[in-house]
Subunit: 210 residues, 2 copies
């Protein structure tokens, strides 16, 4: 079954809303309900859900339990995926303790740092290993997903090493380095720049009087 990328992106958004409804003990929803809850137009929702054979029954709507099971299966959330963490500073530690990954089937299985004072310690049962061994370890563990929380100056080498070890998806809390390895999907969140961009937009720039 081929589902367009835009639809996949929206399935994650629907899933949040659907889970919230299930938490509130709701059993069914309509495309209009879902639209109000997640900000996507009802017609788009109906089309998206029809890709995997879900059609709301007139006057009844969509069964939330069945919907969430289907979406989980499509998004591969019903399998466990191991991830590597590189850089166990403040941000890295927060990742190790982040409770939200489990529901999405993601588990940080290995962690690496280059600081000898951290190597050998455990956080949330995960052993912090020597960063100089990470390529070998990641390859032998068959890990394809990584979280990067190293200083900017180390981002480039870290990405190359991860790519070489077979990692194909990276979430990075470091500014994107100049060169992205081929075949690796990297999501970079540059905290300082995100904040600076918000500051920039606090006051709209006045257009010159023409």
């Amino acid at each position: 079954m081929h589902i367009p990328d835009e639809t996949v992106g929206r399935l994650f958004i629907y899933l949040r809303s659907i889970r919230r409804m299930l938490d509130q003990d709701k059993k069914v929803t309509s495309s209009e309900d879902l639209a109000a809850s997640c900000g996507v137009r009802a017609s788009v929702i109906r089309k998206d859900l029809s890709y995997f054979g879900r059609f709301g029954k007139r006057g009844v709507g969509y069964d939330l339990g069945a919907l969430v099971r289907d979406i989980h299966a499509i998004l591969k959330l019903n399998q466990m995926t191991n991830a590597a963490l590189v850089g166990v500073g403040n941000i890295g530690r927060a990742f190790l303790r982040y409770p939200g990954f489990k529901a999405e089937g993601i588990r940080i299985a290995v962690a690496f740092d280059k600081d000898p004072r951290k190597i050998g310690k455990r956080i949330e049962d995960v052993l912090i290993e020597d960063a100089t061994t990470m390529g070998e370890r990641i390859e032998s563990e068959g890990i394809h997903l990584a979280i990067v929380a190293v200083p900017p100056s180390e981002a480039q080498e870290t990405l190359y090493c991860l790519a070489g070890a077979g990692v194909r998806g990276v979430f990075s809390f470091t500014p994107c380095p100049p060169k992205m390895p081929q075949g690796v999907r990297v999501t970079c969140v540059d905290l300082a720049m995100e904040m600076a961009s918000l500051v920039y937009h606090l006051e709209p720039i006045r257009k010159p009087v023409s």
Copy 2:
């Protein structure tokens, strides 16, 4: 001076590369150098920089020191902006200790949590205050920027409270709540969903054989 939003977004990217060059004691750059370093086409860079009167001299290029000063001024990075932090859990603490904000002129001035065991303590010299007082405190401090790191169930109320207190820019580490207050720019990073999306894309979906 009106600069298009897309150009502003790219100025942040150029700035990263320019700072890296300055760290390497470079004095000048060309649009081609910059293009290689940040992955934006040279012709786009030349056009972007011309918006604020920067034109590379043929055979000499752009003066890096002047360029960085101009970009700082345009992006308002040469002024200090106070921010509020709401939610001092693992992620919130990482924010308080994040060293990258200072260079962008951002300072977390106040922090709030609802946990009585945290209220009254200090992290990095910032006092953790009672979250039930945050609206009043943020308004009296004249703060317009906030970082939100509360559990998803508290995101909606937190955003309303911040908007009511005069906040106009929010960076949130919580899934976007269903309703965004008017006039507030919110950047949401949903860690678990970002990771789940990477997992989804690890193996490309096979298109049905037709």
